[in-house]
Each structure stands twice: as structure tokens, then as C-alpha cells.
């Protein structure tokens, strides 16, 4: 298979995957409105489980079983599709739920249709569809489609693990076979063009005309069946999270006691976990700052600005970013003066920026404008108490936006295997990269235990962060 064919095949698969997820997201979004507010966070918790379960853990857990499928390529493809859809659906759902209100409400759109009073031809349906995409709820789904296409087009670890044909696996093999860095970079133009060609119209449509001054459409509880939501949550939660975790814990439980006795194993894991957290945390924070700066570049109606060009490099995927950064940092004067680790951080920031911007676009309408305005006025007050109150209001309204903007970025960069393995300085490898290497040689109780530990490190940090936030809010906001 040539690079062109591999890219085309990946493109078709990603379009299919992103497209087929949209009705699923629409259905789950609808049924989610039938869930009581008090129960929603639990439902969200279950829905997000597959997204938060790292791909390498899923791949490790299913690895041996999936190997038997390789003789039947289509079954293998199907297994990959199922695991990927379970993993990425919550991301699309998040975008649809967090996106600002569309310029036209469903009622407004219906009135517009009635006002057209025309015979229902295919041109009329096309016009309705265009209006729905440009001004109606379709904008949210278009944004979700773009993001799903982006993440599935970049997916590498699960595809490589399952022997799935994709452009980045092709490039991976080519590099392993000794293709020169320069030639690899030239070959990258093919997938880059395909990706940009797909995403550019989506971003153009999705990026304009948001109703940023209005609040999100009401998400009141409405009676509806919850059959699909329940079914999806159970199956995706089991297949995408609980079964892999169960397999790892079952296999790793004898290993926990063994490594508990060998203190250096835990210390090594903690050291490598810290490497991952330092790189992930720093790049996540920088990426969110740059993303906000990019988002502030347009006007309130989100017109394009030159700052948006900063997103383009991030669209080429982690493998390409890693290779390009390596080439750039080999230039003698850069190599001489740049500190080791800078290319790694920069690579992660570039990769995270497009996702950061999409998250920012989603968060934009979440704050209550009146309260925010009040907070802004109070922040400028010359009276200390009022100024402090202003900052507290700001934190209550905007703090969560920062936290939930940074946390997913840190999570993804901590578990990144591609950029980190190419660019991490000698001796500073992160825990997931190290364990992924060992997973290649098979399963063992100790490896399973260490894998569990590597995932628990960022979970523990997140737990601490949320505890601090809760204490702060309880103490600060009366």
C-alpha cells in the first residue's frame, strides 16, 4: 500500500467514524436531557470513562486477544472501529454540550422553513441543511465532526498495535526501514493536504456566526426514553474502560506486592511519572495560554485572525510534529543553544493547541455575562474587599474554565507516546513511554501493576487539584 492509498484509507475510515458518531451523539445528547440534574454528573462520569482510559492501557489489555483477529482483517477493522468510537464519542458529546447557542433556535429554524413556502425539492432540502449547518444546531455537530475527524486521523498507538492500515503507521514503518528524515518530511505533505483540505471548510463554517451574547439554550429536564444512553454507557464503559482495567488489575495484583518490596521500582515509576507530569503540565499550561490568545484574536463574532495560523502545525499529528521538531532542533546553531527538553515541550504545545482552541470555543458561552460583568467591575474597585470579591466571582465563573481547559491537555500530553518518545531528552522518558516499550515484550504481573500505577499518578494529582478547588470555593465564596 502506498502512502497515498494509506492516507485515502485513513481519511475514509475517519470520515465514516466521525460521521457515524454524529447520530449517536445526537441521540445521547437528547436522552441526556431526560436525566435529572442531580444524576447528570454521575452519567457524565460513566460516559467519560472510555475517553479517560489511556489507549496504551486498552491496547495492552486486549493485545493478546486481538492478535488472534489479525487473520480476518475486516473483523480487526471492526474491533478497531468499535474501540475508537467508544473512546471518542464523549469528546464529540462534550463539544455539542459546551458549544455556544446557535444563532437560530430550533423554533426559529422551523419558522424560517415555514416562511420559505416552497415545494420540497432536493435543492430545498439542501438549502435547509445549509441553513441548519450555518445558523442552526448543525454548527455544533459540525464542530464535533471536525474534532472527531482530527483525533481519529491522528490516532496512531491503537492502530499500530492492532495492525490497522493508516498513514502514520505507514510513515512509522518507512522510518524504521531507514527512510531519511528529509524524505519523510516531504512525504508528510500528502496527509497534511488531505487533512487541511477536510478541516478548512469545517473550521470556516464552524468558526463564524456564533451567538456569543446569548446564553446556552435551556437544558431542562424533559421526559424521554433513556434506553440508548443506558445501553451505550454500559457497553462503552465496560469495553472501553472496566474490562481493560479489570484485566490489568487481575494480572497485576500479584505484581503489586512484588514491587512494593522492591522500593526502587516504585521510585523509578514516580520519577518517570514526574517527568511526564512536568512535561505534560508545562505544555498543557502554555498551550491553554496560547489557545486563549488565539481565541481572543478575532472579534466577538469570531472572524479569522492571523493568530489562527499558529494552529496549522498542530494539525499534522504527533508523529509529524515529532519529526519536524527533531529536524529543526538539529540545525547546528539551534542545537548548540537550545536546552534539552525544549523541543519536547514545544512539540507538545504545538500538538495541543488545536484541541485547546476547540475547548476554548466550547467554553466561551459557559459563563453568565451579567455576573462576569459584575465581577469585572468589582475587580477594578479601589476598595480591597470589593476587589477580592471580584476575583472570587471571577474564579467561580472562570476558574473552572481554566481547570477544565488545562486538565484534558495535561492528561493527553502525559499519555502521549509519539512526540515524547522522539523528543524526550535522554534519561527523562515519561512513565507511559517506558511501559509501552516493555509491553512490546509481553504481559507480566509486574508490568500490569506498573501500568496501573502509571495511570494512577495523574489521577491522584487531579484528585488533589479538585480537593484544593473545593476547599477554596467553600472558604472563599459565601
Amino acid at each position: 500500500m502506498s502512502l497515498w492509498e494509506a492516507t485515502l484509507w485513513t481519511w475514509l475510515r475517519c470520515l465514516f467514524m466521525a460521521g457515524s458518531l454524529l447520530p449517536v451523539i445526537a441521540r445521547i445528547n437528547h436522552e441526556l436531557n431526560g436525566v435529572q440534574q442531580s444524576q447528570r454528573k454521575w452519567v457524565w462520569g460513566i460516559l467519560l470513562l472510555p475517553l479517560l482510559t489511556p489507549g496504551f492501557l486498552v491496547g495492552y489489555a486486549y493485545g493478546r486477544g486481538l492478535l488472534a483477529l489479525r487473520e480476518w482483517q475486516w473483523w480487526n477493522e471492526l474491533a478497531y472501529l468499535l474501540l475508537s468510537t467508544a473512546r471518542w464519542m464523549p469528546l464529540g458529546l462534550l463539544i455539542v454540550r459546551l458549544a455556544p447557542a446557535a444563532p437560530l433556535t430550533p423554533t426559529g429554524l422551523h419558522c424560517w422553513k415555514l416562511s420559505q413556502q416552497r415545494v420540497r425539492t432536493w435543492q430545498g432540502h439542501l438549502s435547509d441543511f445549509e441553513t441548519w449547518i450555518s445558523f442552526g444546531e448543525g454548527k455544533k455537530y459540525l464542530l464535533a465532526f471536525g474534532l472527531l475527524f482530527l483525533v481519529t486521523f491522528h490516532d496512531f498507538d491503537l492502530a499500530a498495535l492492532m495492525g490497522i492500515q493508516s498513514w502514520n503507521v505507514w510513515l512509522f514503518d518507512a522510518q524504521g526501514a531507514g527512510m531519511a528524515l528529509n524524505e519523510s518530511l516531504q512525504r508528510l505533505i500528502v496527509p497534511l493536504l488531505v487533512q487541511v483540505g477536510t478541516l478548512a471548510p469545517i473550521l470556516w463554517f464552524a468558526g463564524r456566526g456564533w451567538n456569543l451574547t446569548n446564553e446556552q439554550a435551556s437544558q431542562e429536564v424533559v421526559f424521554t426514553s433513556r434506553f440508548f444512553l443506558t445501553g451505550w454507557s454500559v457497553l462503552a464503559g465496560l469495553g472501553g474502560c472496566l474490562v481493560p482495567w479489570g484485566l490489568v488489575i487481575a494480572e497485576g495484583s500479584p505484581g503489586f506486592t512484588a514491587i512494593w518490596r522492591q522500593g526502587n521500582q516504585w521510585l523509578g515509576l514516580l520519577q518517570e511519572g514526574m517527568n511526564g507530569l512536568v512535561a505534560g503540565g508545562t505544555s498543557g499550561c502554555v498551550a491553554i495560554l496560547v489557545s486563549r490568545w488565539i481565541c481572543n484574536g478575532g472579534t466577538r463574532s469570531r472572524k479569522w485572525s492571523v493568530r489562527d495560523l499558529f494552529l496549522v502545525p498542530g494539525l499534522v499529528g504527533p508523529l509529524a510534529i515529532g519529526l519536524v521538531m527533531l529536524a529543526v532542533f538539529q540545525v547546528s546553531w539551534i542545537a548548540r543553544f537550545s536546552p534539552l527538553g525544549l523541543s519536547w515541550l514545544l512539540g507538545l504545545v504545538i500538538w495541543l493547541m488545536p484541541i485547546g482552541v476547540l475547548l476554548q470555543l466550547g467554553f466561551r458561552n459557559q459563563a453568565v455575562p451579567m455576573a462576569l460583568h459584575l465581577g469585572e467591575i468589582l475587580k477594578q474597585s479601589s476598595i480591597g474587599n470589593q476587589r477580592r470579591s471580584g476575583w472570587r466571582i471571577w474564579w467561580k465563573l472562570r476558574g473552572d474554565e481554566w481547570i477544565w481547559g488545562i486538565v484534558p491537555l495535561v492528561w493527553w500530553s502525559y499519555f502521549d507516546l509519539t512526540i515524547s518518545s522522539i523528543l524526550a531528552p535522554p534519561g527523562s522518558v515519561s512513565a507511559p513511554v517506558r511501559l509501552f516499550n516493555q509491553m512490546h515484550y509481553g504481559h507480566s504481573a509486574m508490568l500490569s501493576a506498573l501500568t496501573g500505577g502509571a495511570v494512577l499518578i495523574p489521577v491522584a494529582c487531579l484528585g488533589m487539584l479538585l480537593t484544593v478547588r473545593r476547599i477554596w470555593l467553600r472558604g472563599g465564596i459565601q
Partner: protein, 343 residues
């Protein structure tokens, strides 16, 4: 006071954060940088012992399955103007010969060099082999009772049921070494025809030797090509497997040693030499023989210290083909494989 956005207020803390992160991630200046392609599970304790014994701090960069996309060999080539690696511990031979031909390695003939047989080291001392593994055919005892250790018998087995025979992608690793040996022995045309024929018939091609072993151990395939270290993983896991060494027409085995070399322009030459001597010592070869990978010592060791199954393999290793003669075959074979897989 001019109004400032929260984003601009956070620029200074962000800069501080980046500087702190760079400090955390930077390796020690005085540390000896080792690029290691051998499995971390086996190599790390040995390198840690060297640190303890000599007090020389090490920074180790392991090869990973993910960085096969940019293996350590290519990394050394890429860094040739600004070398970061001092010592390269490779897990095969042909790649390091490639580096030597590109004049990227420093000659060194220390105490360890002398105890290694001639055909497993470079005559100029740019690299030296140690602790080898054999290329083998692993087979599932539940599916095949026995297998004759001849090239003809193995080829017949593949011909009969290619869909039940596993092989790693020959673009890299020890499968590429095996292909290079066949390229030299059979000639380009015969190997190309054989390769295309088996692929057309559905031979089970997988990403690596470990997966080839897994397919056989799990009963999905009746046999497959792999290396002795992967074979012993299956044996230790209690799988019903057996193996015979791959033999070429002239009866030679394919014995692939680890290799060690000092990179040209290394900043810590003296410390690098100490590490090379240490790795080429009988002590390290014995340790690697005792490890789960059962690496075969090439130099003289105390036979009583070596596990019996490794002692059996030592005779086969002595019959290994001279890999130094495969350099041009490897180059031509790889060029063809790149066209076959990547065009």
C-alpha cells in the same frame, strides 16, 4: 491602572514554569549518555551496577517500540554534527556496521575486545559483539510433533501452510538480518520470488518477533520465525513450544550478537571506554546468559555459571554465519524491501 486580561497576567508564571521544567528535564552534564537498544528489563540492572561500581553517572536512552520510527541508529546519524550519545549498546550487528561505514564510531580495542571471537567484532575496533541470540523457528508442540533443523524442512513447512506460519515484517530488526543472509545465499531473484509467493498465499506477517512468538504460542499459527530471547519468554510462560535454529544452506546458523561502540565526538571518552570494557566482560556475558533472555556468551566464560539451555546454544552460536559479510546484501535487500512496502 490599565486593564489587563488574565491571560497576559499569567505570562510571567508560565515563563517561570517552562524554565523550571527545562531544569527538571535536563540531564546531568557530567553523565555518560548511553543509547541502549537492548531490552530495558535486562540491560538496566547491568548499567545500574556499572554506575554503583564506578561512580560514573549514566543517562540512558532506551530504544522503544514507538521510536522504531526513529531508531537509535538514525538518531545517532541525525546527531552527527552535535553528538549527544557517548556509548551505543545495540541489540544487533548490521545497523552498527552501517554506522561504522558512515565513520560515526570511534575505534577502541580494550580488555573486552580481546576475548571476543574474530567474526563477532570489527577488525578496526569500531564495534564489538557480545551476548548473542539465535534466529530460530518456534513451533507449537500441540500442532507439530517435530521439525527437522534444515533449511529445506523449514521452507517445506512454510510452503505447505503459509497461512499458519508467522513472520515479522522484514523491513527492520533481526528479520532483516535473516533476509540479508538469504539475499546473499539465494540471490536477489530467488528471495524476491519466494517473498512474493508466500505473501500471495497469506503468510502471517506481524509487526515484530514478539508477536510472531505470540501467534505460535497461542496456537493461531503452527510455527514462525523469531529469536531465542522471545522463544524463552514463551517457554517461561509455560507455552507448548519448541524451537530449531534457522540454518542456511551451508549449515551455518544466524547468530546475532549485541554490539557496543563509542560514538565519534563523544564528550566522555574515558568513561565511555570503561563502560565498553565492562559490557564486554565475562561477568556481564554471564549475567545476560542467566537472564530470562538467555543471551549466548561469545567470549570465554565459566561454563558452570551458564544455564544448561544456554550451554547447548553456545555450540550453535559458534556455527554462526559471518554477519560482516552481509553489509552490501543488507543494503540492497533493504532498498528492495522499501520499494516493495513503501512505494
Amino acid at each position: 491602572m490599565p486593564k489587563r486580561s488574565a491571560t497576559s497576567l499569567l505570562i510571567l508564571p508560565a515563563v517561570v514554569l517552562v524554565i523550571t521544567a527545562l531544569w527538571w528535564l535536563s540531564p546531568r552534564e557530567d553523565a555518560l549518555v548511553v543509547y541502549c537498544a537492548h531490552d530495558a528489563e535486562f540491560s538496566e540492572p547491568i548499567l545500574q551496577d556499572f554506575e554503583r561500581q564506578t561512580g560514573i553517572p549514566l543517562v540512558i536512552q532506551f530504544d522503544t517500540e514507538a521510536t522504531k520510527s526513529l531508531s537509535l541508529i538514525q538518531r545517532i546519524k541525525a546527531e552527527k554534527n552535535q553528538p549527544r550519545c557517548d556509548v551505543f549498546w545495540n541489540n544487533e550487528t548490521l545497523g552498527i556496521i552501517d554506522l561504522a561505514e558512515d565513520s560515526l564510531l570511534e575505534p577502541y580495542k580494550g580488555t573486552g575486545y580481546e576475548r571476543i571471537p574474530e567474526k563477532y567484532k570489527d577488525s578496526e575496533g569500531r564495534w564489538t559483539g557480545f551476548a548473542a541470540r539465535l534466529r530460530v523457528v518456534i513451533f507449537n508442540k500441540d500442532l507439530i510433533k517435530s521439525l527437522e533443523a534444515t533449511e529445506a524442512a523449514i521452507l517445506k513447512l512454510i510452503e505447505e501452510e503459509p497461512k499458519r506460519f508467522a513472520i515479522a515484517k522484514p523491513l527492520f530488526g533481526t528479520t532483516l538480518t535473516q533476509y540479508s543472509a538469504h539475499w546473499k545465499e539465494w540471490g536477489a531473484e530467488k528471495l524476491q520470488a519466494w517473498h512474493r509467493q508466500q505473501h500471495a498465499k497469506g503468510i502471517q506477517e506481524v509487526a515484530g518477533n514478539a508477536k510472531s512468538k505470540d501467534l505460535v504460542a497461542g496456537g493461531n499459527c503452527q510455527a514462525g520465525f523469531t529469536d531465542t530471547d522471545d522463544y524463552y519468554v514463551a517457554v517461561d510462560a509455560g507455552k507448548p513450544v519448541e524451537m530449531v535454529p534457522v540454518r542456511l544452506n551451508d549449515g551455518a546458523t544466524i547468530c546475532i550478537p549485541n554490539t557496543v561502540a563509542i560514538v565519534k565526538g563523544a564528550k566522555h571518552q574515558e568513561e565511555a571506554r570503561k563502560l565498553v570494557d565492562y559490557l564486554l566482560s565475562a561477568e556481564v556475558e554471564t549475567r545476560l546468559a542467566k537472564s530470562a533472555a538467555r543471551q549466548i556468551p561469545l567470549g570465554e566464560v565459566d561454563p558452570q555459571q551458564v544455564p544448561s539451555e544456554v550451554r547447548d546454544l553456545m555450540d550453535e552460536a559458534e556455527e554462526g554465519t559471518d554477519l560482516r559479510l552481509l553489509t552490501s546484501a543488507r543494503r540492497d535487500c533493504l532498498e528492495w524491501l522499501q520499494k516493495e512496502y513503501l512505494q
